[in-house]
């Protein structure tokens, strides 16, 4: 391979890589117009300074969490628009009609949908939620490493920008969301698409890895005195399990992507078809990360359901200890099931048998959790709010999807269903109901704690029903289609197969889901509009854990006086069992990290590095890397990264905000 180091100042970059066909052009125009509109809006309303001081430079995890969620919601809309195109194409591209998308464009959209939904929506919502809730629940004033936390967010942001730039200049990977070689090798994917995919995930993945370390340490080391591990809220347990998985799994992703990138840019032979490469090694490596990733996403959502079920049932969580054991069984087992993603590799019946059995076993702890939630609801005094609707929707869909999963854990059956739409239906039922419904429930549950008003219940229920009906319509037909032999990533099929009616039903399902999404925005807008009528106070749901004992809005230092914890659900005991007061002891000085733009600069360096490698702009890559390294050194020289609030200032602020319970 000819490196041509200083051949061209712009590497492979040139105007001919701008988009041409109408759908790509409109996508590109959107990607350009939205930022321009944002810039104009901020300039006209004179909010740049506000944005910079209050948000972009903040190290407060509550605010970083909000930024994660904003990015994730925006990306969710992009992922949804990808789906609309996919479903439309599959509903009409039959026989003589070839639909609205070219084959290669269709593959790009499918790949972008998967990548964006997992890395920038599900991960973004999860990290947003963790940032906002975990420190509050463990009685901490901050995370273990606040600057690292901001860096993680900005790396996530840089990865997001990189993946979206692929819409405007160049193209995106057309090799599915996990880019299996040899298809993803340079020989078969010569454009920059796969490079965009690699570097966007590499940068965002580095952010996730750092976040994983950060929250692992936060939960283990920053819990308030008295909160032993077994007194921790279940959400924190879910996060602890998930972050342990991040720490073990994400290094594998980092290295796998680097090796693929080396194959493509430096001509190595890790996964190539010739030259002594081994492409199945890629599939093994990527799933050694990929399967834990599923549980990384779902364990925090399980935690959310645990909090919600026990709060709205007004009962303590059933089987707390078994819940904890279930989480850790899942953590361990999730590392020894990865091969079920490719039983068809031909590893032999012993290997397939082992992984098949392990896969079936992992359903057991998940079942334990489901039964625990149901037993918590049993004989509870149900406060039937929308989060419980989401929970019940989850419980039903997750069980259907889970049983489909156990079915596919049987290798001979998997040989029939591998890479068919049956699989697509299965994992969407797991991830959408498990992760997304969990996040939706979490938003309804925790939003009042931060904003002071509740979301409208009626509109929330409308949204739920639209989602539920739409979701079942969109995915139940896919099980049938899978049995009929329809494979995934299909951009065209013959009319004689008789698949079209089912694809049309699935497409109508998407219309309902769009309705559900629109209803969510209506709900949010209407609730803001009428917020005076739905004031929530500081404890709208008769909460159990520490975050509800704080005043709303939560002061930037979280706890003026550190909480005193002697049991699970301390706030519930205070209210209903005459327990002790939570905020005890004297006021003491609090150290708060100062705002800094340096985290943003580090991520900007990483972005420049990634972009220049995608386009082979070799002089720019070291500049990007150096920017990041020098910024890290500059930050390490800062002798006063914190400011101190004196005890009397804390007292004054506490009286102003209204003391905690």
């Amino acid at each position: 391979m000819n490196l041509n180091v200083f051949g061209s100042l712009l590497g492979k970059l040139s105007f001919r890589y701008l988009p041409h066909d109408p759908i790509t052009v409109s996508g590109a125009i959107m990607m350009v117009l939205v930022p321009i509109a944002l810039v104009v809006f901020l300039t006209v309303t004179k909010r740049w300074k506000w944005l910079y001081k209050e948000w972009l430079t903040t190290l407060d995890p509550k605010r970083i969490g909000v930024m994660y969620i904003v990015v994730a919601v925006a990306m969710g809309l992009r992922g949804l628009s990808d789906v609309i195109l996919v479903r439309t194409q599959q509903a009409i591209s039959v026989g003589n009609s070839h639909g609205i998308l070219s084959a290669s464009h269709f593959q790009q959209i499918v790949s972008a949908h998967g990548t964006i939904m997992i890395f920038f929506v599900a991960m973004g919502l999860m990290f947003g939620m963790i940032n906002m809730i975990v420190p509050l629940q463990i009685g901490a004033r901050d995370v273990a490493f606040p600057f690292l936390n901001a860096t993680s967010f900005w790396l996530f942001f840089a990865g997001m920008v990189l993946i979206n730039i692929s819409l405007v200049i160049g193209d995106f990977s057309a090799t599915g969301w996990l880019a299996y070689p040899p298809l993803s090798e340079l020989k078969y994917s010569p454009t920059v698409g796969v490079d965009y995919w690699i570097w966007s995930l590499e940068i965002a993945g580095a952010g996730s890895l750092l976040s994983g370390i950060n929250f692992l340490v936060t939960i283990l080391k920053k819990r308030v005195k008295g909160m032993s591990l077994m007194k921790m809220p279940m959400f924190c347990w879910g996060v602890l399990g998930s972050m342990s998985l991040v720490a073990f799994a994400f290094p594998i992703l980092t290295i796998t992507l680097i090796l693929l990138s080396l194959d493509r840019t430096l001509g190595t032979h890790f996964f190539t078809a010739g030259g002594g490469g081994n492409m199945m090694m890629y599939v093994n490596l990527i799933w050694a990360w990929g399967h834990p990733e599923v549980y990384i996403l779902i364990l925090p959502a399980f935690g959310v359901f645990s909090e919600i079920v026990s709060t709205y049932a007004r009962k303590k969580l059933f089987g707390y200890t078994s819940m904890v054991w279930a989480i850790w069984s899942i953590v361990v087992l999730s590392f020894i099931v990865w091969l079920h993603h490719f039983f068809t590799m031909g590893a032999g019946s012993d290997v397939n048998g082992f992984f098949g059995i392990m896969t079936m076993i992992i359903a057991v702890p998940t079942g334990v959790k489901l039964f625990n939630w149901l037993f918590t609801l049993y004989k509870g005094k149900l406060n039937f709010k929308t989060p419980l609707y989401w929970f019940i929707g989850f419980a039903i869909i997750f069980t259907i999807g889970g049983m489909a999963g156990v079915l596919m854990a049987v290798p001979p059956i998997d040989f029939q269903l591998h890479n068919s739409l049956f699989l697509i239906a299965h994992f969407h039922m797991m991830i959408v109901s498990g992760v997304l419904f969990g996040d939706f429930a979490a938003i309804v549950y925790w939003l009042p704690k931060f904003t002071g008003f509740k979301l409208n219940e009626r509109l929330g229920r409308y949204s739920f029903w639209l989602w539920l009906v739409g979701f079942l319509m969109a995915f139940l037909p896919l099980y049938v289609l899978g049995f009929m032999g329809a494979t995934r990533r299909l951009d065209h099929y013959s009319a004689s197969l008789g698949w079209q009616p089912l694809f049309i039903v699935a497409a109508i399902g998407v219309v309902f889901i769009i309705g559900g999404v629109v209803m969510m925005f209506v709900q949010l807008g209407y609730s803001i509009w009428t917020r005076k009528k739905h004031l929530a106070g500081s404890d709208p749901w008769d909460g159990r854990t520490l975050e509800w004992s704080l005043p709303t809005p939560i002061p930037f230092y979280n706890f003026a006086r550190l909480p005193h914890v002697t049991s699970k659900d301390p706030f519930w005991y205070l209210k209903h069992r005459g327990g002790h007061k939570i905020a005890q002891g004297e006021y003491e000085p609090i150290e708060i990290p100062k705002n800094t733009p340096l985290a943003m600069v580090i991520a900007a360096g990483a972005f420049i590095f990634g972009f220049s490698i995608v386009w082979h702009i070799w002089w720019l890559a070291p500049i990007g890397l150096l920017t990041s390294i020098v910024t890290i050194i500059v930050r390490s020289m800062d002798e006063h990264p914190n400011f101190v609030l004196s005890a009397s200032e804390v007292k004054q602020l506490d009286e102003k905000y209204g003391s905690a319970a």
């Binding site: 391979m1 273990a144 490493f145 890895l209 994983g212 370390i213 950060n214 692992l216 340490v217 283990l220 080391k221 920053k222 720490a247 073990f248 994400f250 290094p251 594998i252 980092t254 290295i255 796998t256 680097i258 090796l259 080396l262 430096l266 001509g267 190595t268 032979h269 890790f270 190539t272 010739g274 030259g275 002594g276 490469g277 081994n278 090694m281 490596l285 050694a288 390294i629 050194i633 390490s636 020289m637």
Partner: protein, 209 residues
Amino acid sequence: MSDLVPSAQVDVKEVNRLIERNDEDNTTIFGFWVYLMTDCVLFGSLFAVFTVLRNNTFGGPGGAVLFSLPYALIETLSLLTSSFTCGLAVLSAQRKSKKQTVFWFVVTFLLGATFLGLELTEFHKFIAGGNSWHRSGFLSSYFALVGTHGLHITIGLIWIAVMTGFILKRGINGLTMKRIRMLSLFWHFLDVVWIFIFTIVYLFGALHA
């Protein structure tokens, strides 16, 4: 705490502050350990890749032809010695001897740089002989594994340089001590990884024809 004066003169708040500061340092060091473990997984993946590809020489030379054990031994010795001098630097820092600490860090830097130089020379020799990473899956995985370790060593050298400047400017206090501890953890960790590289790549490679 044994050198604390009798309780009548103890400022409780001050003691609490010290304990808290100590907790915070422990949190940072614990976090650094967790980071090292993630790095361990990263190297583990590379070792797995190397093990899978070690025989995929694709008609090119294998380890027995390429590797010279005496050369690898010199590399190993320079890195192991640097680990020892790094330990001496930490001991000097604990004695609050700024001069000695700086001295041992300079020695560590020089030994580390020697190691890196030897490694790059070896890389250059292979590439010049037509055995670069293009040649085969085996050589790709060799360069990736050993190169990643070399990249870590480079980062370590930058860190040692910055750290030495930092000590010269600020002296040895709580903050520098905490960072010296982390730096030495990092350096020893790279040493341990190298032991595995020496065994799995060079020893096994040279022994198996």
